[in-house]
Subunit: 93 residues, 2 copies
């Protein structure tokens, strides 16, 4: 159970990939075939990376789609822990 707020994969995309390849949001959006607005929302951590977009990133940057989705999963899970109430869930033993 992670103690600290894991990074949003959009941050990784921006800092580790777009920076290295000198890609603007507008250029990369075109390359991926998604809207500039949506990519902007991704790199600003406003929306999650979907399975479909993970596949596109994977092809574009020659990664696995899993690295994007596992980072998204960690991010989502951390935030869900802060909000989901489990008090009424019964334990099975």
């Amino acid at each position: 159970m992670e103690m600290f707020n894991p990074p949003h994969p959009g941050e990784t995309l921006k800092e580790l990939y777009m920076k290295d390849y000198n890609l603007t949001i507008a250029k990369l959006a075109l390359m991926l075939g998604i809207s500039r607005k949506h990519l902007s929302n991704i790199v600003n951590c406003k929306v999650p990376i979907s399975t479909e977009i993970a596949l596109k990133l994977a092809k574009c940057f020659n990664t696995t789609p899993e690295i994007w989705l596992r980072e998204q999963l960690a991010y989502d899970l951390w935030h869900a822990r802060q909000t989901v109430n489990l008090d009424d869930v019964k334990v099975a033993f």
Copy 2:
């Protein structure tokens, strides 16, 4: 990249957990605090396990939520690969 259709986590839930603990769909739904219909859809592989439900399963069966979500991820990814068209995605190098 997995060659074969990975199992839906609902199958695991049914075969490995509900069977062991002798839980019916109706009983477990109550314990988790979700509707019987929704749990039925999960164990019949009709709908995915959400982050929230993974947290509930984790508390109920004393697992990590990750085991449910990673299995879901593998399932989703495999199916997305069969449908998402990546032909128009440009490679960044």
